[in-house]
Subunit: 414 residues, 2 copies
């Protein structure tokens, strides 16, 4: 069993647009246990398309194509499939009626070119497209099964799920499933995490466990290939439990969860409020919290205090303290967190003094040196970190560091 | 002249990674006047690779390949090229020395597998890789020229520019140049912009003018194909001038410039300072300003005032004003901008009350309703806008709206 994905369109081969359909399709096919050996992208050129489809039909058992089904002259897929199969194009009445209805519903005038979209290779099975005018094509050439879908991602996604996937299953292709589980960690380096999981991440372990890092967030991905969902979950369950046990509070969430999602969930559970006092992150802690729907009940507001004047005036930090310790220091981190909590009357205050660079570093507080301060009823804490990286990396990583410190404190505080 | 790009790696055909090298290469080749007809991506499988390279050599005049040059057993490109050309692999002494040096410099132990990277098809020209251990390969099979480069994007980019591009020019390929110019606008809809430029955006216009929209920023891209750089710029110059004349202050910048870059440049030119008072944008105006290196001299700080309490306590907004007008209103927008300017002693204050949703909307102030307030020495102004979109879209577009309002005011104020 080997599959090939073909993407059709000069906007792709010219580099104007990025092909993301092929990746999406590869993942869906992998989940069904169908390995993809080739992605081919071809310009809107008849000879080149014929060449590509002939090669694909020869070397693959399944071809999944996207694009080239529109009404314009450079939409060639219907012709190419008919020529590759050695058959004629024939009018498909239900498709013609569907296209006519789409046009009348949108109150637009239908041209002769739109009729072209209702012609299909004589032996083809037409796959309806509820989201657009271009139906898809399911057919067999020799031993090779072919699914041709529109290139518009939303139309393609729907057609794959509703039309192609059931046909693949009915054809006995796609035995088994691939199930993925993602666990997200913060606060430890990649190699430190891997050192705790060497027996799981080694090649050949079942299920497969991979580590990736993105902007200081470490993700563990457990991938199980199995006969069915239950068998895959039997593989994943114990490994997930082992990972969570070994990594403890480094694990903050799963799948697409971000640190701010977890922080807002904890705030909501305990009905606690928070305020931010930012410097190096320049508003990014607030902005991340602000992304989460419903946050305004728990996030009362914040201050971005770039200057000493702002730290004094908006947060009540004392001038002599700034003079003694410098603006980027643990005492100032604490004073900022305390100040914003008092001013906004919240349960928690979080602060982020630091140096994002590229300028402004000194020997004592180099670029990348940051502090996070936390204040709550009955306590305060600070931590420091020294990041390598660009200005925007230092800013986004410090925002995550602050959210993570807040998360850990929210979990501890009763 | 037809080119094919081949990307090698199972991480691509499996959908694990997204192939962005092909798009980058297509754009570089298009700039050199070399049209790309095919992108092919192939798994780490010997037979599949041979099939792909044989087809490419037959149908293309130029093949640019990436990946498969590493030291592991699934790195097949050297073998595949040798077999496709019908030649043996031979040791290339300078490459072996380069690899040995890389290892000794990094204090790592070199294995026999790393020696493999110094073997090349007998008739090949070896392209050095200053950024990694895998050299590239330049060779000819039949009439087809082949450039094989590492798949790591940073290594590939450098090798293309330093090694492949000069060889393409020397081989007489890549006649002509493609020069692009991007002009960025904010504050008008796509169709309103297009209506002013219909004579330029029509098909067949020389040079080509395209419009794209991304998160409320409208970009015009002028694309000139010409014999040389001077001829391309002669095409672009007058069209750019026409666009700038017709669109006036809607145009805020060019190429990768963002609104915050322009705002900070204007602030620095006039030595003016600004402070932010955010609500719906939750810190994003501050965060965008904070991205720009050197901004801390002009951006003094800000406040994120989600609650009425924060608006009163941090910005001095009067309680009876909030009761009379509601927090999301023009008078409050002005009061917030005035308040933050006074508190932080800046030349300008900018504010963003509004409703990001998904909850919190009313009939009078629905989700998507936002205000921007500006305050400066001797004046104040407010504007309102009603966005459609998700919470994050409303937030990012309002942040841009505020930055654009500030930009326009900075240009007006003497």
């Amino acid at each position: 069993m080997r599959a090939e994905i073909i993407s059709i369109g000069s906007e792709l081969t010219s580099g104007q647009n990025l092909d993301t359909n092929s990746q999406w399709l590869s993942r869906r096919l992998a989940e069904m246990g169908i390995p993809v050996l080739y992605h081919t992208t071809v310009a809107d050129d008849l000879e080149a398309n014929l060449d590509v489809f002939r090669a694909a039909v020869r070397r693959a058992d399944l071809v999944v194509a996207t694009g080239g089904l529109g009404p314009t002259q450079d939409d060639l897929t219907r012709d190419v499939l008919a020529q590759t199969a050695g058959v004629e194009l024939a009018l498909h009445e239900p498709s013609l009626r569907h296209i006519e209805e789409m046009f009348s519903r949108r109150r637009r005038i239908m041209t002769d070119r739109n009729r072209v979209q209702a012609y299909f290779p004589a032996n083809a099975d037409v796959m309806p497209n509820p989201h657009g005018t271009a139906p898809g094509i399911w057919m067999t050439i020799g031993d090779c099964r072919i699914a041709a879908m529109p290139g518009v991602p939303s139309e393609m996604f729907a057609m794959f799920e509703q039309e192609v996937r059931p046909r693949l299953v009915a054809a006995g292709l796609g035995g088994g499933v691939l199930v993925q589980r993602k666990i997200n960690c913060f606060g430890a380096g990649e190699s430190a995490v891997e050192a705790k999981l060497l027996d799981l991440t080694c090649r050949g372990h079942v299920p497969d466990v991979g580590i990736t890092v993105s902007d200081a967030v470490i993700s563990l991905r457990i991938i199980a290939h199995a006969a069915d969902l239950a068998a895959a979950q039997t593989q994943i369950g114990p490994v997930e439990q082992t990972i969570r046990e070994r990594l403890g509070t480094f694990v903050y969430g799963e799948e697409a969860e971000e640190l701010e999602d977890v922080v807002v969930r904890l705030l909501a559970e305990k009905r606690w409020t928070v305020a931010t006092a930012e410097s190096v992150t320049a508003g990014q802690v607030a902005q991340r919290l602000g992304r989460v729907p419903g946050v305004s009940e728990w996030f009362r507001g914040g201050v971005v205090a770039y200057t000493n004047f702002a730290k004094m005036n908006l947060l009540g930090v004392r001038a002599e303290m700034l003079a003694t310790h410098g603006a980027v220091s643990a005492p100032i981190a604490e004073a900022m967190a305390v100040g914003v909590r008092q001013r906004l009357g919240t349960d928690f205050g979080v602060s982020t003094p630091g140096i994002a660079g590229p300028g402004g570093g000194t020997e004592q507080t180099p670029v990348g040196m940051v502090y996070v301060g936390l204040s709550w009823d009955g306590g305060a804490t600070t931590m420091s970190w020294n990041w390598a990286g660009t200005r925007t990396e230092i800013q986004s990583r410090t925002a995550k560091l602050a959210l993570n410190a807040l998360r850990l404190q929210l979990m501890k505080t009763v």
